[in-house]
Symmetry: C2
Subunit: 267 residues, 2 copies
């Protein structure tokens, strides 16, 4: 059964719209995802929205119709509304005609099974939601297990990060923790911590990588703190042939991750 | 000599602010770059702004002071104004305290010297300014000669693209042309055209690359048109180990470019 909401001032609309802000996401333990492609990715990964918003009277794509049925079967709510109200929820002029409210899916470090994947990505104080979302997307592509967020990273469940992840926010495990917790956990088992840095002469293709390999990328402007670099089992750099001294953080992570994966499949 | 502008409604402020829009950039043949880092990159590459805007009364970084002197020596204008007006020019709440107006530096295809670099990047109908700027930044890092834009790409001289390029907009040659022109030019000399595609079984690490190698990446949502793929000397794909079927366009370009460069330095 669908429920209809027609008014902008409806309290549920206000509440859902508030999930565009981090403090409300934290308080509610929920986040937003938009668009059929991302929500289908979520569904295939086993995640259904608690609430599904769609435009009244609009013909549904078969995948959207299937999604609606599953949401209802699972006891979720389907709410139809105007395209103007949906635009307000999605914050885009051209709303993607589907918005979902999902329960928080962050995973505590203690539940991360490091041996379930050969590669893990670690982001330290990453500030740009597009970069974080792109790292998730890359992690999925390269077969990483998930993303571990250290220090004050931008929220991986922001609308911008979820969008840039293209759904990988649902297929990669996401863990937020302090550096000390991470190191304690990491050293309690096997795992190679690899940092990308400008403070090294070791070429990224000259290093031997071993699973589970934790590829750590630092803040966009500052890079990794010195103490974090000192903890790494290997510090490597990509050759720079031009004037610039660095790559975009998400790009550097991807070049590293494909190098590590390429080595692993050759050996 | 500095000139001071105090009013928001000053015609020059309006004119410079209009450069945030593509149609005015085209009309004026000028574009904006912001911030000391990017403008220093420009200066080192031999490009000075015709006009330099800075905040009145603010102490200048030595590099900014040097830039100011060079702008004056070259006959350019230095304009001091309030931080509010500078914010209006830069479109950011936290302006980077320097804004420059540069003359258009796009290069016609006939002036591109393909043998001057082992790698060239080609973007087809790329829509996201962040992706285009990131491609320029990656091109600089990997030692590419420049970026060739085919079909209806987003403007590489937009404020967003310039910012994402981190100054590589000044160190990479930038050429916009139609596909037919590009092919005619390409086939008039040596050069390997490599496309990334989902419609191939050839692994990107199984292909042999030769300089000058033109790495072509298609539109974010559609990929390359079939006819363009047919023209490629090699179509390759990166292995996808997860649920997703693609990487972010700028990320895919970077993984490819570092693979090509890595092969070239081993041989």
């Amino acid at each position: 059964m669908r429920r209809e909401i027609t008014g902008f001032s409806n309290p549920l609309i206000k509440q859902v719209r508030s999930l565009r802000e981090k403090k409300f996401r934290k308080r509610e333990g929920r986040f937003l995802a938009e668009g059929l492609r991302i929500m289908t990715e979520a569904r295939e990964a086993g995640f259904l929205p608690e609430m599904l918003f769609l435009v009244k009277g609009q013909e549904l794509h078969p995948l959207a119709a299937a999604l609606e049925q599953e949401v209802i079967s699972a006891g979720g709510e389907v709410i139809e509304t105007s395209s103007d109200i949906l635009s307000k929820l999605s914050g885009k002029d051209n709303p993607q005609a589907l918005v979902g409210v999902y329960a928080d899916i962050a995973k505590p470090l203690t539940e991360v099974d490091r041996d379930s994947a050969p590669i893990w990505l670690v982001a330290q104080a990453m500030r740009d939601p597009g970069n974080l979302g792109t790292m998730l997307r890359t992690g999925d592509a390269v077969g990483a297990g998930g993303l571990i967020l250290i220090d004050d990273c931008t929220d991986p469940f922001s609308v911008e990060a979820v969008r840039a992840s293209m759904g990988a926010v649902f297929t990669q495990s996401i863990t937020q923790c302090r550096w000390e917790e991470f190191v304690l956990w990491l050293r309690g088992g096997n795992g190679q911590l690899v940092g990308t840095s400008l403070q090294t002469d070791i070429d990224y293709q000259a290093c031997e990588y071993a699973a589970p390999c934790f590829i750590m990328t630092g803040n966009e402007a500052q890079g990794l703190p010195k103490a974090y670099e000192a903890e790494c089992d290997a510090l490597v750099k990509m050759p720079m042939y031009g004037k610039a001294d660095s790559l975009n953080a998400a790009v550097a992570t991807a070049v590293m991750a494909y190098e590590v994966r390429g080595q692993m499949r050759r050996s």
